[in-house]
């Protein structure tokens, strides 16, 4: 899932300067699961903003509404009649949701309250680890199901480098060396030949904004 972390309160407060009536929009999907921007986090943030602005003698009127998914038009439509009553919107969705919200209401300032950090697994409640950089050229088939693009600090395709330190990455003893793990897993599977071959330079697919249309589908305007 997509994981995010709430921005520092001071940064959020600073963005809200000058606005008197703001709607805080949560998202009920990924950011809700990772405890960053669901219904509960919207309520907590609103309470904090409300208190801080009262202390500053600059009260603010806050609304709260959490949609099922901010990356989906169908759910954003629920906000259509509400938004006109506010000076600005806070979004607690991932970067995708924030932009889609801003796109739907182009006349209203949309302010992010979270920093999106990536595609991660849920190790335990509140503990998430990045696993995918969405490079669009998946190598997991020959790297034993461990992503070197994400998990190797240098994103090496022909690792491990000379900096492995007792199975850890040179950047930190807390960071396992991805290539050490790849070697270990492939060795156990008797598939080391996979990484004895030289992997050619990547043809980076993520250097331009990407659009994906599944086979058999078209953009609506192209439909006859």
């Amino acid at each position: 899932m997509i994981v995010a972390k709430r921005k520092p309160f001071e940064e959020i407060k600073d963005m809200l300067k000058g606005y008197k009536k703001v709607l805080n929009v949560g998202c009920g999907t990924c950011v809700s699961v990772c405890l960053a921007g669901g219904e509960k986090e919207v309520a907590v943030l609103n309470a904090e903003i409300d208190m801080a602005r009262k202390l500053d003698n600059d009260p603010i009127e806050l609304g709260a509404y959490t949609v099922e998914r901010q990356c989906d038009r169908e759910y954003l439509a629920e906000l259509d009649d509400m938004v006109k009553d506010y000076d600005a919107l806070i979004s607690m969705a991932c970067g995708v949701g924030i932009q889609f919200l801003a796109e739907r209401f182009p006349e209203t300032p949309v302010l992010p309250a979270v920093d999106t950090s990536g595609l991660a697994v849920n190790q335990a409640v509140g503990w998430y680890e990045e696993r995918c950089r969405s490079c669009q050229s998946c190598v997991l088939g020959w790297t034993g199901g461990i992503c070197p693009v994400t998990m190797c600090a240098k994103g090496l395709y022909n690792g491990p480098c000379g900096g492995t330190n007792q199975g850890k990455c040179e950047i930190s003893q807390d960071q396992p060396c991805a290539w050490y793990l790849i070697h270990e897993r492939l060795s156990a599977q008797d598939r080391l030949d996979n990484i004895k071959r030289i992997k050619a330079p990547s043809t980076w697919c993520d250097q331009v904004p990407r659009t994906l249309i599944q086979p058999g589908y078209k953009k609506p305007e192209e439909e006859e």
Binding site: A153, K154, G155, L156, Y157, N158, G159, P160, C161, G162, G163, T164, N165, Q166, G167, E170, I171, C177, Y180, H183, E184, S187, L192, K196, I198, K199, A200, P201, S202, W204
Partner: protein, 315 residues
């Protein structure tokens, strides 16, 4: 292989020395943290006539320094042969190829292709690491530029750069059993010579070289054994515990400690010379790469004591 350079791939002094079967001896020089040319020429003066080529480090440990190609060029002007180091951390494939063309145009004939230390270690830990290609792919790119006269993108190069291609190898980083296969990959990618990580654990190094010999790898590329004399017990302990991929046995530290006050550095040099004596006789080792870090002025003494002088002249 190109025949334009009398059968040499690059015609560099290092290539000629190795091809003639001499035991090569290379040094290292770190460019300054500023623009002082004299700092380069002063360090270089200690190395002149003592080594076959001098590695010029490229923002080593991810700390900004004078560009390695520029310091390399200063060496060319001083009549020394540089081994231009290039890391994958700071440049994408366009910048790398541009620098290779420029370096060659300025008379640089050797290159060492490296991944590079992670930027987190350096003086700009917030920097974006590039790693567009890795060291393996860099080797292949330089070879393609040299032998096929083509850029990575496929276009032709006018007067391709004829570079003697080097890379690093670290026999001491886990997984150990993988290290010889990584060497094999670098050779397959097109490397001409290898300079290893600083060797302190001789037993592990002997094992690695034997593996390389058994796989026929030492016949396909020249392996230069990395040597760094220990200046102090503190340095040895630091390298043992703080430098990733470094293997400093406890025995070595004990020997340095036993040398007595004021004699540790001499003991360090003595150990290095003993290593060099063994490398001269070791099958599969074609030379030594001496990394006397901020100790360039000691190189003449070490070279003398190690019995590698005078350096051969090959036409």
């Amino acid at each position: 292989m190109s025949t334009e350079q009398n059968g040499y791939k690059s015609g560099s002094n290092l290539e000629k020395v190795l091809r003639a079967g001499h035991f090569a001896f290379t040094g290292e020089l770190g460019p300054p943290r500023g623009t002082t040319v004299k700092e380069v020429t002063e360090k270089a003066s200690h190395l002149k006539g003592m080594v076959d080529a001098v590695n010029i480090t490229d923002n080593q440990t991810a700390v900004v320094r004078m560009a390695s190609w520029a310091a390399s060029f200063i060496l060319v002007q001083e009549g020394l042969e540089p081994n231009f180091q290039m890391v994958c951390r700071d440049r994408n494939r366009l910048a790398m190829q541009a620098d290779i063309l420029g370096a060659y145009a300025l008379g640089i004939r050797n290159m060492l292709c490296l991944s590079g230390d992670h930027q987190q270690f350096g003086d700009h830990p917030q920097a974006k690491g590039v790693f567009d290609i890795d060291s393996m792919q860099l080797i292949g790119m330089v070879k393609r530029m040299r032998d096929e006269g083509q850029f990575l993108g496929g276009a032709e190069i006018e007067d391709p750069p004829k570079i003697f291609i080097g890379a690093a190898a670290n026999p001491f980083a886990e997984p150990y059993e993988w290290r010889v296969h990584r060497l094999a990959k670098k050779i397959e990618a097109g490397v001409d010579f290898i300079q290893t990580q600083c060797i302190y654990n001789m037993e592990r190094f002997r094992t690695w070289v034997k593996q390389a010999n058994d796989m026929g790898l030492s016949e396909k590329a020249y392996i230069l054994a990395g040597v760094t004399p220990m200046k102090s017990v503190g340095m040895a302990k630091y390298m043992q515990s703080k430098v990733p991929g470094m293997d400093v046995p406890e025995d070595l530290i004990k020997r340095l400690q036993g040398a007595g006050k004021g004699k540790v550095a001499e003991e360090g040099i003595k150990i290095a010379c003993e290593q060099i004596e063994e490398f001269k006789e070791m099958q599969g080792v074609a030379g030594v790469h001496l990394m006397a870090i901020e100790w360039e002025h000691k190189v003449p003494q070490i070279a003398e004591q190690a019995g590698v002088l005078p350096r051969p002249e090959v036409d």
